[in-house]
Symmetry: C2
Subunit: 259 residues, 2 copies
Amino acid sequence: MKIWAVANQKGGVGKTTTAITVASLLAKKGEKTLLVDMDPHGSLSTWLGFDPDELTDSIYNFFQAVSNNTPIDPGPVVRDTPVANLSLMPASTALATLDRQLAIRKGTGLVMVKALREVRERFDFVLIDCPPVLGILMINALAACQKLLLPVQTEFLAQKGLERMVKTLNMVQRSGQQPLPRIIIPTMYDRRTRASNEAWKALREEYPEDVWDSAIPVDTRFRDASKAGLPLSVLYPKARGVIAYEKLLNDLLAQEEPP
Amino acid sequence: MKIWAVANQKGGVGKTTTAITVASLLAKKGEKTLLVDMDPHGSLSTWLGFDPDELTDSIYNFFQAVSNNTPIDPGPVVRDTPVANLSLMPASTALATLDRQLAIRKGTGLVMVKALREVRERFDFVLIDCPPVLGILMINALAACQKLLLPVQTEFLAQKGLERMVKTLNMVQRSGQQPLPRIIIPTMYDRRTRASNEAWKALREEYPEDVWDSAIPVDTRFRDASKAGLPLSVLYPKARGVIAYEKLLNDLLAQEEPP
Ligand SMILES: Nc1ncnc2c1ncn2[C@@H]1O[C@H](COP(=O)(O)OP(=O)(O)OP(=O)(O)O)[C@@H](O)[C@H]1O
Ligand SMILES: Nc1ncnc2c1ncn2[C@@H]1O[C@H](COP(=O)(O)OP(=O)(O)OP(=O)(O)O)[C@@H](O)[C@H]1O
Ligand SMILES: [Mg+2]
Ligand SMILES: [Mg+2]
């Protein structure tokens, strides 16, 4: 089972869009795929028709189990979605309280490692959607994943945000271990805007090892998709945003060694 | 002196863009205008050419003064910008540590009220750019302002974020006082996308009292502006994004009672 996390401390850069689109394309290839929503705002869960304010079972269950010393049971948390081969562990707004409650207990950084171990026979791929802040939830996602996808808007202000994210990663990096493989994904690229071209060029110059060699273009149909409660790859399979994510996924799969 | 804060817990919705554009249009009308960057990520400061990682004087000075019980001195913090009549109190990344340090001391919610009182003879308008999380900095901004500008992207997922923001405001609302006047500003409106139209309609239906009767259209030239280190109103005064913000400002000024 491959576990990829999608993260960036800057808000609104396309994390949720990247997670749902890549996961839906894996599901379309016949891979059993699990999406995990670790953002208390629950955009991913909302996109797929779940209400983070109302849910009784969510990934919050796992954190409660660890602090109550009871077994982790993914059963009631894993939900079907409208897409074949695609399941979801939704978020609930209760997750927002975690940073205040659990910070001091041992082992709270490994809750998701344990929860995902329970489902490793059922899924081929896991995509984790992260919140835009560094806290218990992001730490759990970084600990559980084997690869990190970093969407970055192709604009000047977002570059500063990426610098800070990379510094954070180096800080959180488990000392002594291999650095987490990561790929920087330029998003919302608009070839008509000079600033977008310059930002993409600057990313390639500053992070030559980590930046993907293409970019996800601006495609306002992503908004239609979240309104319709479906991934864009299902709503408009030939949309230019989907074609770009297909190329990204093919490049990501080519990077993976054979399982 | 009028103090307006621009806030929304959802990231990437146009808070910084709204703050800098409205402020620059006020400056253009000849009003002495102060921008305050209360986001530890410092997008506003970066946009105007300052580096939040390097600055020695920032609004962080005020929080230090309050915890050390020394007088608040705005002198070294207020900086000139490339725009006439427009000054800035920049952010520094040190602000990110405030929530962990100060939460328990009395009076930390009123630091900005005190700091802005010191400059009330020098400025006609103050625009505060807020971070995308609820914490000490947002609490300070809400305590200091007389009106709240809430940018919301015209898309389905952002509406859920607004619901939560409004709930938070009602929670933080100082009990017994008049509710803080607020205006919801639909941003990044794209009339070609059905989802954008439906989202705008839904905002008008759900918040008939608070929603502005127009919207800020998508205008990718905002990216050129942040790259150039200037407000868009200075770089392309006739850009459609600027025209829309001019209408917003006229409507906001019409709402203000005579000072
Ligand atoms: N390639 C794209 N072209 C146009 N719009 C896009 C694109 N990718 C994402 N969007 C839109 O941008 C907005 C933000 O995207 P998304 O919610 O995926 O970002 P995020 O990083 O997950 O945000 P948050 O930090 O709030 O979790 C959404 O309205 C989405 O529809
Ligand atoms: N009307 C608009 N049309 C097109 N792009 C816009 C518009 N307003 C803002 N943007 C772009 O959207 C991105 C996010 O805007 P901005 O930084 O103002 O949002 P924010 O809410 O302040 O984000 P954060 O939560 O990170 O502080 C920027 O790239 C900006 O240039
Ligand atoms: Mg998201
Ligand atoms: Mg901002």
